[in-house]
């Protein structure tokens, strides 16, 4: 059994790193370059079980995406993966429904453990 994860980041390097970390245990990873791209892709990927999302992105940032997803009533858990560490921003994301916050550079094992908790394979 597999589970789909969407990684949203304007950096190709980060998308590659997340993909590499999550493909190893067996996740299927889809990529998006910013919030707008993510919304378009999510509309056609109803089997997405987890979103890993940067904060600072052009067109639509991660917080704005959380607002949109919350307004849509999305139940897909979202974990922020970002260089930001401000407690107020973390609180804001949490209040918008984010399930976690990981500060870059990230340890791949933390990301895998997070995915296992929020979107276990075989569930």
């Amino acid at each position: 059994m597999t589970a789909r994860v969407m990684v949203i980041d304007d950096s190709m390097l980060v998308r590659r790193q997340v993909s590499a970390a999550l493909k190893t245990p067996g996740y299927l990873v889809t990529e998006a370059v910013d919030g707008v791209d993510a919304l378009e892709k999510l509309a056609g990927l109803a089997d997405t079980k987890l979103i890993v999302c940067d904060v600072n992105m052009p067109r639509m940032n991660g917080i704005e995406l959380l607002e949109r997803l919350s307004a849509q009533g999305s139940a897909v858990p979202v974990v922020m993966l970002t260089t930001e560490g401000q407690p107020e921003l973390i609180q804001r994301a949490r209040s918008l429904g984010a399930k976690g916050w990981i500060v870059k550079p990230f340890k791949p094992e933390f990301l895998v453990a997070t995915a296992a908790k929020l979107a276990p394979l075989g569930a």
Binding site: S11, E64, T83
Partner: protein, 349 residues
């Protein structure tokens, strides 16, 4: 900042004193008008917070402002939960800048007392006379985070790279004008400052990026450049988090490809050498100043950074100062505020 608190309710007064951090505010708390006027005469305050009586509040405000040293102070009135509308407009006519209703939380008092600093930065940018000119622009070079930038960045990049860097000051002499470079702009919009962090890679370092970070020795140039931009992004994050510990909130922009053929302004440089001579990265920090613009909400575009809070008519915070606008938020604000609403912004970074 010197703050005078005039409140005859001792418990409330003492709670207010405790709410204001001593390392930022020099608070003199008094119980009556006579003591307040004496305190103002002794040393000019930047902020006066006073409990407005239900009758005569505007007269008290006028007398407080009438003191020689208080002409330019920021006046904040505390009123009862449901003051009459006339009472509030009388207070404002008498020169009160803001008010708080009882009961109020300690965080609200702190936010209201912080407001004048933001107003000052805004008023400076539109060339109005400085009504309460008490703060000086930030000297970034005094920040520990800035002085230790090379070390900070090296630590986080080492995490990313899985191998340590050795750090030394100075720009590597062998890096030519055509070396690969990415930079990230960072704003301190209220101070009209822009910082630019650049990461420059020599040829062996670009090879290391391909082989180690990308795990693809044949990765295309565009892919390598993307990775270099992410290194700049990581560097920006390191600086931002370190500056937070010094209570400075920087706004990060989007990293971009850049050129080494320019490093104007005040800049610091560090050389980060990879283990075993595998390559060298340069970290360059530049300080630039810019002039904020005052524009209509209809002209907002992606990348601009707000220099002040945007609040609703009821005082609710909509977007905080320092927010970098995306296309989404720029359009939303333009629609919400309309073309007659003017804001101060730092130029798009």
């Amino acid at each position: 900042m010197r703050v005078i608190l005039l409140n005859d309710r001792r418990a409330e007064r003492d709670a207010m004193v405790r709410a204001l951090p001593q390392d930022t505010y020099r608070v003199e708390a008094v119980a009556d008008e006579t003591a307040a006027l004496a305190a103002i005469a002794r040393e000019a305050p930047q902020v006066v917070v006073f409990s407005a009586p239900s009758k005569g509040g505007q007269d008290l405000a006028r007398r407080l402002r009438g003191g020689e040293n208080a002409a330019e102070a920021y006046l904040l009135a505390i009123v009862e939960a449901a003051p009459a509308n006339k009472e509030l407009s009388n207070l404002i006519s008498a020169g009160v800048h803001d008010f708080m209703r009882r009961p109020f939380a300690d965080v609200e008092l702190l936010e209201r007392v912080k407001a004048p600093e933001r107003l000052l930065r805004w008023s400076r940018s539109v060339s109005k006379p400085c009504a309460f000119d008490f703060s000086t622009a930030l000297d970034v070079t005094t920040l520990r985070a800035w002085r230790n930038l090379g070390q900070l960045v090296a630590e986080d990049l080492s995490e990313m790279a899985g191998s340590p860097f050795s750090v030394s000051t100075g720009y590597p002499a062998h890096l030519g004008a055509d070396a690969a470079c990415a930079s990230i702009p960072m704003s301190l919009a209220g101070d009209q400052l822009e910082l630019r962090l650049s990461i420059v890679a020599d040829t062996p370092a670009t090879k290391w990026i391909r082989e180690t970070l990308l795990s693809d020795p044949t990765a295309q140039e565009s892919t390598m450049r993307d990775a270099l931009r992410e290194l700049a992004n990581t560097a920006g994050g390191s600086l931002k988090r370190a500056a937070l510990s010094e209570s400075i909130t920087l706004t990060t922009g989007i990293p971009r490809d850049d050129s080494t053929a320019r490093f104007p302004g005040k800049h610091l440089c560090w050389s980060l050498k990879l283990e075993g001579g595998a390559g060298c990265l340069a970290v360059v920090g530049e300080v630039r100043s810019h002039t904020n613009q005052r524009i209509s909400a209809a002209q907002l575009t992606e990348g601009m950074v707000l220099a002040h809070d945007i609040r609703s008519e009821g005082g609710v915070l909509i977007v905080p100062a320092g927010s970098r606008l995306t296309a989404t938020s720029a359009n939303r604000l333009a629609a919400m505020l309309g073309p007659r609403y003017f804001l101060e912004v730092a130029p798009a970074a």
